[in-house]
């Protein structure tokens, strides 16, 4: 939408003034984004896309310039017991010196996004998915990008060890605007872990944009763990493009943040693709997490499965807005979408909006959502077997979360997430 009132422009300009212009992305991308950014305005009060999660909190916050570290010990941010390649982004800047990328097999590139060659496959795809012309936060990320990583797994290559993006925020009220580009070429395969962690307790802001290209018959599995701090503001835009017979799975685990918005956009453009989106948001305190997924079924004969689960304690708010859009061309689509929530406190809330938009008639689409509390019968049953009430509840909560967590196929990562969740809720795992 085009902003007209000067007041709106002032707010926008004030917001933008906090960021430093960058030279991270190629000049053509930045110039293009700059043009869009001039026309785009911050989401209006009644913007349906931002219902339940108004961006006022980020727009009205003040941030500081990043702090520089010569060295930082990253060992405590690794996944314990996991043999992986690691790429570190410190305060939004790629740090090759802190990364562990030696021994990457031939055909696998993990490079600073700043260094991508103009004639490379990267440039061909860079900023083609992020919707910069319409999405103001993508445009901001393009113009003010703090750094980023580009990954390419060449045709037929399989990366055996997971690739772990470690994103660290160490600056009080710091800003990070990373850009990720991952290309899995035909018949390639890889697993990515993306962790967002903060070492400070103040209100930091992350505006991350990730573009993912999954080409024919490629297989990409993505685990995203957000555990910055209870005050962090986190905006995450993922834009995924799937070609025929490709397989993409993403698992989004959000453990804290005072304002977290995950915008996951997937376009399924080739036949016989499989797509799996799962997510868990166990929240407490004053946390607010919004998972906004938009699944575009454009090609026929594809299957998608979506399951998001929330556990809301204290004053926490969970939002789920999932849209499955089946184009007229996408006959024989089989789409399933489910959102389930447990509300543990009367001060917590859940807002959910599972949407189906269907233009093809020969499809099987269903969605469901439930919001509720514990099954009293189940609790009673457990207590009757001698399990204390607290443990009985924990047992059921863990079983509830388990349906999402079991999608993490990397065992050390699963253990780490279990550990994080149990620390948070005092669950017995």
């Amino acid at each position: 939408m085009i902003g007209t009132s000067t007041e709106k422009m002032d707010t926008k300009q004030r917001f933008l003034n906090q960021f430093l212009e960058s030279d991270v992305l190629p000049a053509s991308v930045r110039e293009n984004a700059k043009g869009h950014l001039q026309l785009l305005s911050l989401p209006a009060h009644k913007d349906e896309y931002w219902k339940y999660t108004r961006p006022t909190k980020i727009v009205n916050s003040e941030f500081s310039a990043p702090q520089h570290h010569d060295f930082l010990d990253i060992s405590e941010f690794k996944v314990p017991g996991l043999d992986a390649f690691r790429a570190v982004l410190l305060n939004g800047v790629f740090r090759k010196d802190l990364s562990e990328l030696d021994g990457l097999p031939a055909g696998v590139e993990v490079v600073d996004i700043k260094d991508v060659a103009p004639d490379s496959a990267f440039v061909q795809h860079l900023d083609t998915l992020a919707d910069t012309s319409k999405n103001i936060f993508s445009a901001i990320n393009a113009v003010y990008s703090t750094g980023g990583i580009a990954v390419r797994v060449a045709k037929g290559k399989v990366l055996e060890k997971p690739l772990h993006f470690i994103h660290l925020q160490t600056t009080d009220n710091g800003i990070s605007q990373p850009r990720f580009l991952v290309i899995a070429e035909e018949n390639a395969q890889l697993k990515v872990i993306q962790t967002f962690k903060s070492t400070v307790a103040t209100r930091t802001f992350t505006n991350s944009v990730t573009e993912i290209v999954v080409q024919k018959n490629a297989n990409l599995e993505w685990d995203k763990i957000q555990y910055e701090n209870d005050e962090s503001l986190h905006l995450n835009g993922e834009f995924v493009w799937q070609a025929e017979q490709s397989n993409f799975r993403i698992n989004t685990i959000t453990l804290n943040g005072v304002w977290v918005r995950n915008n996951l956009n997937i376009s399924i453009t080739g036949e016989r693709c499989e797509t799996r989106l799962t997510g868990l948001y166990p929240l407490s305190g004053h946390q607010h997490v919004d998972n906004h997924t938009h699944l575009n079924h454009i090609a026929p004969h594809c299957e998608s499965y979506e399951l998001y689960k929330g556990i809301l304690a204290d004053n926490a708010t969970g939002v789920f807005n999932g849209k499955v859009h089946v184009y007229q061309s996408a006959q024989k689509t089989n789409a399933f979408q489910q959102n389930a929530n447990i509300v543990l406190s009367d001060d917590a809330q859940v807002n959910t909006k599972p949407e189906l938009e269907i233009y093809a008639d020969d499809v099987r689409c269903s969605h469901g959502c439930t919001t509720g509390q514990f099954d009293d019968e189940a609790i009673f049953y457990l207590r009757a077997r001698g399990i204390g009430e607290r443990n009985a509840r924990n047992l059921l909560l863990y079983a509830f979360a388990g349906e999402v967590l079991e999608n993490i196929t990397i065992h050390p990562l699963r253990d780490m997430v279990d550990q994080l969740i149990s620390e948070r809720f005092n669950w017995e795992m």
Partner: protein, 482 residues
């Protein structure tokens, strides 16, 4: 082309059966909308000062509001509100004392609709309050109802005869500033129905109103106010048809229901306003605000709607469940064909303890139409033990149409249980073949399957209305094969 393609083709080429114009000289307000229009209407209806002020206040608010375009899944050209007539009354030839005195032409109109007054009166015992354009023509059975203390009259009559009730409840459920179309209605509403069921009274018959838009370019802005006092019960039926017109006609009604302790209101609507032709030309724009409040404990409001008409439908019959243990229900069938667009659903606002709601929505899309369910289930912080179950199914006929589901669920209480399910399906080739093999042709088979698909909703309608609704579904979808 397969058999079912043929059927779909015939369906899409159907003409509206109820398109005819009744030729009665009418008395119109000048075209356009300003404070003078509002004053004209109010003066025409000999309204008290407070009501004029109420209208003007609504009008002034309306002028500051924006038409809601940002969320509904509807596309239509901008409406020129100055290009409509806001008041049209059929000129009464003389004061009517009995049914026999009703204008013969008007009577013929109703006969064409299949609701002959005499037959209604004689056979079904239904009290009918006809609304022809804006003025209530004749109310039957009023005397019978009066014996029980039931008030059932036109809105203008209620303003004169029962001002205290009108003043107390008008705008109490749908405030004049609630939304753009409600504000418009509040400013220019011309007439409608008023109903009051006293304490402990079970209304002995189904109350019924037929609305009809007749005058070209006349927006119809009727207003219904229905109050069920403690421990009373009423079942209210509303049916609508409009003749063929080329320009789109605007319709923005407001319905307010109030159920006090232990009271129950059942409100059923069959809507088949003119949907426009095959190319999407003409048709009614239907922007309706319907809301009921279960104000008292153990009260219940049940909405049932069968929506087959209108070019644009924007309608969300809702329940505010304020009383503890109160119940809200919404049963809906919405059919869209050709270029029709519907964005309809409900809002269930749980405020009281142990409140319950059920939503059953069945959408059927054919032709190049778009049919959206949009519903809100909101459980407030203090609504302990609230329960909701929603089932929203879509049936697609052909691959040029769209079926969409936009449920909003907002839960602020830990003891609430909310369940929502939605499915999408089409009529299967194997189902049609099975019917064919038993001697049932494809058209009839589609009718059978569609009625079966809608059964949960149709079952909620009173018998004679259910039959009419089934016929309407058939008319909207089946076409005349062979």
């Amino acid at each position: 082309m397969s058999d079912s393609d043929n059927i779909l083709d015939e369906i899409t080429s159907r003409e509206y059966q109820y398109g005819f114009v009744t030729n009665i000289e009418s008395e119109k307000a000048p075209k356009g909308l300003n404070e003078d229009t509002v004053r004209f209407i109010s003066a025409k209806k000999e309204e008290p000062e407070w009501l004029l002020e109420w209208r003007l206040k609504a009008f002034r608010t309306w002028k500051t509001m924006e038409e809601p375009h940002h969320w509904a899944h509807l596309k239509y050209p901008a409406i020129d509100y100055q290009d409509h007539y806001y008041y049209a009354a059929p000129k009464p030839k003389k004061q009517l004392n009995s049914l026999d005195e009703v204008d013969p032409e008007l009577r013929a109109t109703f006969e064409k609709l299949g609701i002959s007054v005499d037959e209604q009166k004689r056979l079904s015992g239904v009290a009918v309050d006809f609304v022809m354009d804006s003025v209530s023509v004749k109310t039957t059975f009023k005397e019978t109802l009066a014996e029980k203390g039931i008030i059932f009259c036109s809105f203008s009559e209620a303003v004169k005869e029962h001002p205290e009730l009108v003043k107390k409840y008008l705008g109490s459920v749908v405030p004049p500033t609630d939304n753009y179309f409600a504000a418009l209605n509040s400013a220019v509403f011309s007439d409608g129905s008023f109903c009051y069921i006293p304490k402990g009274v079970r209304c002995p018959m189904e109350l019924s109103t037929y609305f009809r838009i007749n005058e070209a370019n006349t927006g119809q802005f009727e207003r219904t106010l229905l109050i069920a006092d403690e421990s009373s019960y009423v079942s209210y039926l509303e049916g609508c048809t409009a003749p063929i017109r080329d320009e789109n006609q605007l319709h923005a009604a407001v319905v307010e229901l109030i159920a006090l302790d232990h009271a129950e209101i059942k409100y059923s609507t069959v809507q088949n306003w003119y949907p426009g032709d095959k190319e999407g030309k003409g048709g009614i724009y239907n922007f309706v605000t319907k809301r009921g409040i279960c104000a008292g404990k153990y009260s219940k409001i049940s909405w049932t709607q069968v929506e087959t008409g209108s070019a644009i439908t924007w309608k969300y019959p809702s329940c505010i469940l304020k009383g503890d243990h109160s119940e809200g229900e919404f049963y809906s069938v919405a059919v869209t064909n050709n270029r029709q667009q519907a964005d309809t659903g409900t809002k269930m606002i749980h405020q009281g303890k142990n409140t319950r709601s059920v939503i059953i929505s069945k959408g059927i899309s054919a032709g190049e139409s778009n049919n959206s369910y949009r519903g809100l289930v909101k459980v407030s912080k203090n609504a302990h033990g609230a329960r909701n179950f929603s089932q929203c199914d879509s049936l697609l006929m052909g691959d040029q149409c769209g079926a969409h589901t936009f449920p909003y669920i907002e839960c602020h209480n830990s003891t609430a249980k909310i369940e929502h399910e939605a499915t999408t399906s089409k009529i299967g080739e194997d189902q049609l073949f099975y019917c064919n093999q038993r001697g049932i042709d494809t058209e009839k088979a589609i009718g059978l399957i569609v009625n079966g698909y809608c059964k949960e909703v149709l079952n909620q309608l009173p018998m004679e209305f259910a039959v009419e609704a089934q016929k309407l579904l058939a008319i909207s979808l089946e076409g005349s094969v062979g």
